[in-house]
Amino acid sequence: MVKYINNLFFLFLIIGFLIIGFLFIPIRSEAVTITIYGHGGIQLVPPKVCPDSGGKCAEIVFSASNGNEIVIQDANTGQKYLVILEEPLPADATEVQGADLKIKIIEPLEE
């Protein structure tokens, strides 16, 4: 029963997405690079990596356009959701209709 209610809830949620407009607040980028700076050399006792600022420890490059988690906000209620975009965002989009989006909801976000 609980499962049924949950499914129903998400069904309504998805229908809601298709009807109402969404204010987009994604990282409006194609490539996102996260660079971690720190003292990442080898330290034996105690083993510690990157405790200090300094050299480059790691660099992670990914596409923000699809396949990654972004946050969208319901323009009417203000509720935010963490979603995965299954298709790229329209270029320079700030506000689009829900119908233009192919998304997978991960979870509603608490404020």
Partner: protein, 582 residues
């Protein structure tokens, strides 16, 4: 297909690009300082290990993330990104994450927090590491690996400290280099430590009761308040400070970086903050807690400092550590004060290591370790890139700025540098590889040691060197057999293992005697020195009691005399113990 690939010209030119990169450039992992190899003769054991995981494998080759939980917390953000790259490049094989830790409950909590995207997540005992060799001699960063299960063979390994993008991931998918190494690359004789044996009689033995929400893992740092009523320890898996009541053994409070601290230096829009948090990018870390008085505590911390730079369609996020000193009451998580470590300008690039600080409540001073030069970052030594004054294998490195400590006042204003790099490190050209040390204050004098030289230097309050206490002398130095021009990390590790077998954990002055708690090889020992006659007595402490391993931490004075404080641990339980110094 990842967007970067498209930007570089599309799928059809990807292959020629790889071929060119194979011909002219080092692969990303060839530049890496952290490397992992399978030990020869371990195939059967590894095959069995994977069978015993009880995973319904759908492929013979599996992608395995080997993770030392929270040892390189920030580098762990590469895990999910790497998985997403693998999936985008149509990898359908099983992806497994192994959290390698002996502390099961704390590791379960860690996995719950981190939300990794692997198909299977398993907690495995550190025993598994015995099948591998790590360039830095210990397992200290996460690796992504590829195993061929029917043969129990490691096909490829890559430390996540490098660059992770679609190109690296493609290279990794294609790599079949099978990194393998013979056992016992460095042969070291095990020496029996001589000294009087001591069977401690506990004056205190107390079980520490953690909670389901905050399970205790392990710790490098403990501190006890002057009255001996509270214990503070930094938990290695949560980077929080747990406060225990030393009368009941119950967890009194948990001090952790709250959302204010987490966001203090993160100046990005809300949506990006949320994404960074969900991606495990924001890792505020507490390190060394030190009681300032009976109820307040100083904690050295790294808080995330995020800078964002949007250029056209690309976003660059830079993550630095804001190095802070935080003061809290042990009863509340509210910050009483936070202070940023300032670094005085020098004409070289150097670091003040805020993680291992010595706080002296009597004078309000804070001592932090000075460090400069390679190995820093995550890359191998490149003599073309690194200036000679930052390269420990050159003479220029040792011409100036060879300090040991930076001294700060209680507002964390820089006062001066003090001490000098251990001369034996200079002789062996080890630079600041073993950057270590602490300061104690007895009477009206400071006692400084670098832990490895065996010498405790005594300074007055004007920082004039008055005297020194020699606890031990290292025998004549042995040069490593590995050439530093061929394998600089191997050289440093061997130089350390062959020459510096004793490390001072703590030092106490009491009733005309100096006591040093020392780890000699793996053997804990008390060195008791008569300060008038300068005679040293060695007392061997047990490694295990009642089947539990003892981790020794500090020496301190109490109403009943001077005691050793230690933790007695097995896989499920931790006890706090105290026994009188011999």
């Amino acid at each position: 297909m990842g967007l970067l690939t498209r930007r570089r010209g599309g799928r059809n030119i990807l292959l020629p690009l790889f071929l060119i990169s194979f011909l002219f450039a080092k692969l990303e992992w060839e530049k890496q300082i952290h490397r992992m190899y399978q030990l020869e003769g371990t195939n059967k054991s590894i095959e069995r290990f994977f069978k015993n995981l009880n995973i319904p494998y759908k492929s013979d080759t599996v992608y395995v993330f080997m993770v030392p939980p929270m040892v390189a917390a920030r580098v762990e953000i590469g895990i999910n990104s790497f998985i997403q790259h693998l999936r985008k490049q149509s990898i359908k094989n099983d992806i497994i994450l192994l959290a390698i830790s002996n502390k099961r409950r704390a590791t379960e909590k860690y996995l719950e927090r981190r939300r990794f995207l692997a198909d299977y997540q398993k907690i495995v005992n550190e025993e598994f590491l015995k099948f591998f060799y790590f360039s830095g001699s210990i397992f200290e960063v996460p690796f992504v690996t590829k195993f061929y299960l029917p043969k129990g063979e490691l096909l490829s390994s890559f430390s996540l400290m490098g660059k992770i993008d679609s190109i690296t991931v493609s290279e990794f998918i294609a790599d079949l280099s099978k990194p393998k190494i013979k056992r016992e690359t460095i042969s070291l004789k095990k020496v029996k430590i001589k000294g009087e044996k001591y069977k401690p009689i506990f004056v205190k033995k107390l079980k520490l009761y953690d909670t389901e929400e905050h399970p205790l893992s392990s710790t490098f740092y403990i501190s006890i308040n002057p009255s001996g009523t509270y214990l503070a320890l930094r938990d290695n898996l949560s980077y929080s400070v747990y406060i225990f009541d030393l009368i009941t053994g119950k967890m009194l409070n948990v001090l952790y970086p709250d959302s204010i601290e987490e966001r203090m230096f993160v100046n990005v829009p809300e949506n990006i903050y949320v994404i960074l948090k969900k991606m495990n990018v924001l890792n505020p870390m507490y390190f060394n807690p030190q009681f300032y008085d009976d109820t307040t505590i100083f904690i050295s911390a790294s808080l995330p400092r995020i800078e964002i730079d949007i250029k056209g369609k690309d976003t660059n996020i830079s993550y630095f550590n804001a190095r802070c000193l935080i003061r809290k009451s042990i009863f509340s998580n509210k910050i009483l004060k936070y202070l940023l470590f300032k670094q005085p300008p020098l004409d070289i690039s150097y670091l003040i290591k805020h993680t291992d600080i010595s706080v002296i409540p009597q004078t309000g001073l804070i001592f932090a370790l000075f460090s400069k030069g390679w190995p820093y970052g995550g890359e191998v030594l490149d003599e073309l890139k690194i200036p000679p004054e930052e390269n420990p294998f050159t003479n220029e490195f040792y011409k100036e700025h060879l300090y040991q400590f930076a001294i700060y006042d209680s507002e964390v204003n820089f006062l001066c540098f003090l001490g000098r790099l251990n001369k034996q490190f200079e002789e062996l050209k080890m630079g600041y590889f073993l950057c270590d040390g602490f300061v104690k204050f007895y009477g009206d004098k400071y006692y400084l040691t670098d832990r490895y030289s065996g010498i405790v230097y005594i300074y007055n309050q004007k920082f004039n060197l008055l005297d020194s206490i020699i606890l031990f002398e290292n025998s004549s130095l042995v040069s490593p057999s590995i050439s530093y021009s061929k394998d600089p990390v191997g050289y440093l590790v061997e130089a350390y293992k062959k020459n510096f077998k004793r490390r001072i954990l703590d030092f106490l002055l009491s009733d005309g005697f100096g006591y040093a708690l020392i780890k000699e090889e793996e053997q804990p020992v008390i060195y008791k020195i008569n300060l008038k006659e300068r005679k040293v007595r060695k007392i061997i402490l047990p490694i295990k009691i009642e089947g539990k391993k003892i981790n020794y931490y500090i020496l301190r004075k109490t109403n009943i005399g001077s005691v050793v404080s230690a933790l007695l641990e097995n896989l499920e339980e931790t006890f706090y113990i105290e026994f009188k110094l011999p």
